[in-house]
């Protein structure tokens, strides 16, 4: 365990390790909050989360939220956020925040993005002018935003890209990390995470990790996954990367948030996750439950007077029926708020159960029961069986713990 210096903006302490798999339950202290991991971070792109008040998020047990640098850098812009005293104050959120680098958004949202050694060049969607996002500029904006954890600018390639471009991106990502670390102004309050790249190549991933762990960084992000690759490739890359990363630092798997993926990747030793899915899907009337998803727009809920989930203690399930929600989903903004509350409650409760089961040394049993609830016919997808088997958790099709 590293001794915690006063100047570190992040402390990471493993509280319990699963004796079977690579799962661990830890405490990650950042300036604004003591975050229990494994943790799910809801995405509040523009300094707000789908109509929910900060008070509601706190009540839901949300510990850390993600903001998008590209959006925040455009509106309201770094100068307004800085004048407000940082994003925490601007949005009145007192717990932890994490911002991405803005690079991914540019490459995925903007058609005209071009990547050079200097940075990401793109056309402003607002006035058409040419803008360059360099590693230095990304950190400068993230310094004004003031999130507890910030991301290096990485060279993003499509997950399914192959050939020399993947290697180029991986190597450039390391070079950009050094530029980011050099530009960082708030080391005492903000921590930069580098991003492991290397596509679906074992050799490149290994090389990426090898380079990044030589730098003095408090944690690592695993990038370039969850972008259309096969699940088989996905879990193998996660498994490989967590094997190579130092144990005493947090690992953040970017863009992953489906319940099943969360459970598997916790078993593979990941500590942090983010995904727009739970809140985005709420907008379309979709509710998450331990037995799968309900699309409340469907006619079959018109006279269903149960709550979304009997076992859920969220403020939505306490008071609202599926039948009423059916009449307002996708029409009234209130419906989106109600489903967002429920879906975030679901995600956060899932993470809490994971942490508790790790601490109580019953994580493997938890995983088996969780999977049996989702796949009631016990026909588990092969990638899940394989991924869990790789960390010694064996899903038995006739598992007696799968009664419910």
């Amino acid at each position: 365990m590293p001794v915690i210096g006063k100047k570190t903006a992040l402390r990471f302490q493993i509280k319990a390790k699963c004796k079977v798999s690579k799962a661990r339950s830890s405490s990650m202290g950042v300036i604004h909050h003591e975050v229990d991991t494994p943790v799910f971070m809801p995405v509040g792109t523009q300094g707000t989360l789908k109509g929910l008040l900060p008070d509601q998020l706190e009540a839901l047990g949300c510990q850390i939220m993600l903001g998008n640098t590209y959006h925040l850098g455009t509106r309201p812009g770094p100068s307004v956020i800085m004048k407000a005293g940082g994003l925490h104050k601007f949005m009145n959120w007192n717990r932890a925040l994490l911002t991405d680098s803005g690079g991914f958004q540019m490459v995925s949202l903007l058609k005209l993005a071009e990547i050079t050694e200097e940075g990401v060049k793109f056309q402003s969607p607002y006035n058409g002018s040419e803008v360059m996002l360099t590693p230095e500029r990304s950190i400068e904006i993230q310094n004004s935003i003031g999130a507890d954890i910030i991301m290096q600018l990485d060279d993003v390639v499509r997950t399914t890209t192959t050939g020399p471009r993947v290697e180029e991106a991986m190597l450039r990502t390391t070079r950009w990390l050094d530029r980011c670390l050099g530009a960082h102004q708030n080391a005492a309050t903000q921590s930069i995470f580098p991003i492991v790249q290397g596509g679906l190549s074992k050799a490149l991933r290994t090389e990426s990790v090898k380079q990044l762990i030589q730098r003095d960084v408090p944690g690592f992000a695993i990038g370039g996954l969850s972008g259309g690759e096969s699940k088989n490739d996905f879990w193998k890359m996660v498994h490989l990367t967590t094997d190579l990363l130092p144990e005493d630092k947090p690992r953040y798997l970017m863009g992953v948030g489906f319940a099943v993926d969360l459970v598997v990747c916790c078993a593979l030793g990941v500590d942090m996750f983010d995904c727009v899915f739970p809140t985005r899907t709420a907008r379309f009337g979709c509710a998450l439950t331990c037995s799968g998803q309900l699309n409340l727009k469907q006619k079959k809920y018109a006279k269903d007077f149960q709550p979304i989930d009997e076992g859920c203690d969220c403020s939505t399930c306490e008071r609202y029926t599926r039948a009423y929600l059916h009449t307002i989903v996708t029409v009234e903004p209130v419906a989106c708020h109600l489903l967002s509350v429920h879906n975030i409650a679901y995600q956060l409760r899932l993470m809490l159960s994971i942490r508790e089961s790790i601490e109580q040394q019953r994580f493997p049993e938890f995983v088996c029961k969780f999977m049996a609830n989702i796949y009631t016919n016990k026909e588990y997808p092969q990638w899940i069986v394989d991924a869990l088997a790789a960390v010694n958790i064996h899903l038995d099709p006739a598992d007696p713990t799968a009664e419910n």
Partner: protein, 460 residues
């Protein structure tokens, strides 16, 4: 259910309360009251959880049938009524026909039906279909079906058609009401029509006066929607007096529509007991925050009032001034510089200063002028770096925890939290206004309140 009044003088302001509500025995509702406008069964932008942060009081709800007609089948199967169905069973519910916040398309009523406009398209209602719905919804109070498709421009012929049809509808509804088992606990209101015709109003009111109803809805003055705030009290005063003077004084009276606060006060003076909250809703939907003075002797005038007046100035003037906001100046002053006793005076001074500055500008239309007097528009770029609350004297959650700059950002980016924060403030502000109205009536100081609220109406 009982309605008890302090005074029953004709055409005068009155304080009262509704109690012994069969479904909600412990609840007592004071009048003049604000009915919280609900759309699709929920207060727009507020979940139950957030509503509790606005107020823990069980404010009465106003559920227009046209916004929940599509729930009819489900509520019928549910069997416990609309309040319970929408997750608000502890709340008193009143059902009207049309949505006061949306202009009702006109000219669609035929001889035996009227049209409502739920979200799945036009629906025709006759008294039987309407009463079927009411029996399913089981509101604590509802109005009889009516044809109120009249306004300032309606012809005499149209007005009389509206009166006759509404009276025929009323009798049918009352007949069903009296026979109904499930509506035993509900109160029915008669609906006074007559457009802007004095004889029409007299005819309709006199006819209804003898029936055993809990109270009345004064209808047919407008066709709903945001335009109603441009109607002045003078437009409706005579018609309103005529409608009220033939009705029994001791009965409850509702007037729907998003009237501006000044007009509401004048209507209270005539003896109207209940309004809906479509006005603060309309303000929220256009990105506005209410900042008119909503109580008497509030020497701590909200900083925002000064901004509203800035906003009322023509654009050219604003451009001449650098970051004009007086509130920004005063808030950037170190507090120790201010002597405690001068604080109030300085607010009053600011107020005077701005009032005099804005005198002489008559270029803007009545409606946009009114809007800018009662509210400030958070869409305005000048709030982008304004880190003060909407109103410094407001105790709502929004003003306690969030800034104009943040709300401006949320509106700019079309984030759902923008209207949530505005709704919290606007409803709070408007409920406080109604509290002030009741206090003013009790202390016989309605005139002072009127002066406070209308002060800025003189800016022209």
């Amino acid at each position: 259910m009982k309605f008890i009044l302090s005074s029953v003088a004709s055409c005068s302001n009155r304080i009262g309360y509704i109690k012994d509500i069969e479904r909600l025995p412990g609840l007592m509702l004071e009048t003049p009251m604000l009915l919280l406008y609900a759309k699709g069964g929920s207060i727009p932008h507020l979940t139950y959880e957030v509503l509790q942060m606005v107020t823990k009081d069980k404010q009465p709800l106003h559920i227009p049938i046209s916004t929940v007609a599509h729930c009819h089948e489900a509520v019928t199967a549910f069997r416990k009524g609309i309040a319970d169905f929408t997750g608000l069973k502890e709340y008193f519910t009143f059902c009207s026909i049309h949505d006061p916040a949306v202009a009702t398309p006109y000219g669609f009523n035929d001889k035996n039906t009227i049209s409502i406009w739920p979200r799945n398209g036009r629906k025709q209602l006759d008294p039987d279909k309407y009463m079927d719905m009411i029996e399913a919804f089981q509101p604590d109070m509802y109005q009889a079906l009516c044809d109120g498709d009249t306004d300032l421009k309606s012809s005499k012929k149209r007005i009389h058609k509206s009166i006759d049809k509404s009276l025929m509808f009323f009798e049918k509804c009352l007949e069903r009401h009296e026979k109904s088992e499930v509506l035993k606990k509900s109160a029915i209101l008669g609906v006074v029509e007559g457009g802007y015709s004095i004889e029409g109003r007299e005819k309709s009111a006199k006819y209804l006066a003898d029936f055993p109803v809990f109270g009345y809805v004064i209808d047919g003055l407008h066709k709903n929607g945001p335009d109603v705030e441009n109607l002045t009290f003078e437009d409706v005063r005579e018609i309103l007096e005529e409608s009220l003077k033939h009705l029994p004084n001791e009965k409850f009276r509702i007037l729907h529509g998003c009237w501006n606060p000044g007009t509401v006060l004048s209507m209270v003076e005539l003896g109207i007991d209940a309004f809906d909250s479509s006005y603060p809703y309309t303000v929220t939907e256009r990105g506005g925050a209410l900042i008119f003075q909503n109580c008497i002797n509030n020497l701590n005038i909200p900083s925002s009032a000064t901004d509203a007046l800035n906003a009322a100035e023509p654009v050219t003037d604003i451009e001449l001034k650098p970051e004009t906001s007086i509130s920004a100046q005063s808030s950037s002053e170190p507090p120790e510089k201010k002597k405690i006793s001068t604080q109030e005076a300085s607010h009053a001074e600011e107020d005077k200063y701005v009032v005099s500055k804005t005198q002489g500008h008559t270029t803007e239309s009545q409606s946009s002028r009114l809007n800018k007097i009662y509210e400030l528009s958070l869409l305005d770029e000048k709030y982008a770096e304004d880190f003060t609350p909407l109103s410094r004297s407001c105790s709502c959650l929004t003003c306690q925890k969030h800034t104009r700059a943040y709300i401006h950002h949320l509106l700019q980016t079309h984030e759902l939290l923008g209207p949530v924060l505005l709704t919290i403030h606007n409803l709070h502000h408007y409920m406080e206004f109604f509290k002030s109205i009741r206090e003013a009536i009790k202390s016989n100081s309605l005139e002072s309140l009127k002066r406070c609220v209308n002060e800025r109406n003189d800016v022209s």
